[in-house]
Symmetry: none
Subunit: 192 residues, 4 copies
DNA sequence: TATGAATGAGTATTCATTCAT
DNA sequence: TATGAATGAATACTCATTCAT
């Protein structure tokens, strides 16, 4: 057959194609017409499954941000020790493995996402996460180090391209750099 | 007074308003109508000064990327020592002080910028810069550390918001974290 | 009543109105807004049925050039005798009866049509037709006479206005002049 | 030197370039910006020499239609004999040698020209000319033949391309065909 | 679970034209 | 004899969205 009309999974297929195009070309430059054409359905069909274009993004966020929420929930139950934070970094890095397409979309369309309903939601997640990793009582330098550790993990989405090598190796290297940074942050904090 | 029609500086004013709006709302969501209204001129006036919307971005890039180009030129003439690279970081941080609006725009509109004529130009600058700071012979981990040092400086454009404190202090803290990272990269490289 | 919204024939109505306006005022001077207003639909409705303004012309050409294509096909199957060519003129004259609006449009907007996608297509038809009626071996004068015979039939679209009288009579007169011209062309060819 | 700024002949140069572009791409598709760029002057400079875009056409017509007017004047003073009419054709053919660019422009932009101020003026010339060549008392067929003779001379502007050969030879062939047609028209008129 | 047909509001861009200098 | 700077009105085209079927 080749292009057998899949039954019941249209919603899923819309999400897949949409995320792919949004990430590749940007949210604004991707029209519903384009998405529909990729799926060989009409634009109106999209509206059967999603009330608006923005709702597609919202649904993508909800599906893909689950791991992130679980991570935050876990973090909030742990003691605020260095070991907890190191584990937080390890788990965040793992979470990014599945959430990467969505994260890349958010990362590359920040100006746009900020004006979408997911904008505030997303920002709050990031703030919470950074709140879990830094100690608001610590000196600015150490807080900076901690936060840098967190965002270093995002580098897989852009600085990654610069270097050659197996993506997995690079992710592990990034994690190691991040873990180091956090450890240093704590070391000097303890000195002071 | 108040709205005295300024002479001869219209081109400059277009650039200013455009960069402001592009950075605040995104390139696609900012229409030429909106820019024109902010300036109290007609859309057609914009077209007297710039051939297309994209050309406004190009001109912004050319004006604001000067410091970056000078930095790269400087870097290419220096010996590839640790001290050179540390100075590179310091100078890059300083360069970001003036280039920040443009950098923020690029950062928050990556998906869009990629499809613009400035996209490839910009990417090439970043690659060159990262080529100046890392040693392609070094192990992956150390290269990762070096590149992370570079991109850490960009954090002022987003992670900055997370922390309280004087922006200047934060920038200095970021620079210190970056310098540390680079120093470590070299230290372990030398060990091996 | 009066302006009952017709069902399913919108595409056809767009073609009708467009051809009428294109022929009357020219392609460039006829805006899609104008066509839409004549039809009491929005501009966007036109774009549902045709991808571009040029595509409207293309579709008109395809619908109306059918008789011409059939004529050419017929001509290519016949022996290249005088009688065939005379019949070709008769049939061409008849074909013009239905193709006249389109032919008038092409005739009066030559500079424009030349830059459209139909331009080359149309030109090729005319060349083929003229290739069927003249003998490339004959002396220049006789070829000129033959080609003139062909184009004389077009005179109904302009020289027609000069003379008074029933349009049908004039068309018949033109045909007779054309047939005469062709006969003479052959007569003198045979002499030589 | 190479592009020495010619003094005083700007008006003439505008006319030349305008006619060239109008004929090549059409009146509507040729913008004043384009004309100005070809001449390496500003659009505003065109407005120093001509009040409107249409005025350029008007001026072209006035300069180039002179031969035509003289021809008509001559024709109106002659006796309405066959010989006069044959000479009219000969002179018209000669007039076309210089007026051809303008005639081609009119011919290929009929829909546009009709709406310009030159439209009616031009039409009147053509009607007058055709009035000089046909006999309103003659049967329709003979009038048709006479008018066809006249318009046959226009064929150099389009049917010309079809045939190979020296342009001059082709023009002479067309003239001969036209003269023949007119002679026949008279012959049969006299019979009847 | 979709489609065909349409809309209203918008977009970037172009044009002929004007006018102070 | 020009130019620099601008305008107002238009143009082709696109988009997210709607709704009857």
């Amino acid at each position: 057959m080749g292009s057998t009309p899949r039954r019941g999974d249209t919603r899923q297929r819309i999400q897949d194609v949409a995320l792919e195009l949004f990430a590749a070309q940007g949210y604004e430059k991707t029209s519903l017409r384009e998405i529909a054409e990729h799926l060989e359905v009409t634009k109106a069909a999209l509206y059967y499954h999603f009330k608006t274009k923005e709702d597609i993004v919202l649904s993508l966020f909800q599906d893909l941000a689950r791991p992130l929420d679980e991570l935050i929930a876990w973090g909030q139950e742990q003691p605020r020790t260095l070991e907890t934070k190191l584990e937080l970094l390890r788990r965040y890095s793992a979470a990014l493995d599945t959430a990467e397409p969505m994260m890349r979309f958010v990362h590359e369309n920040q100006a746009t996402v900020r004006e979408l309903r997911v904008g505030p939601i997303f920002k709050e997640r990031v703030l919470t996460l950074s709140g879990l990793i830094r100690d608001p009582e610590a000196p600015l330098l150490e807080q900076t180090r901690s936060v840098t550790a967190l965002f270093t993990l995002h580098a897989r989405m852009f600085a990654l391209q610069t270097l050659e090598g197996d993506p997995k190796d690079k992710r592990e290297a990034l994690l190691e750099v991040a873990l180091d940074l956090l450890t240093q942050a704590h070391a000097s904090s303890d000195d002071a």
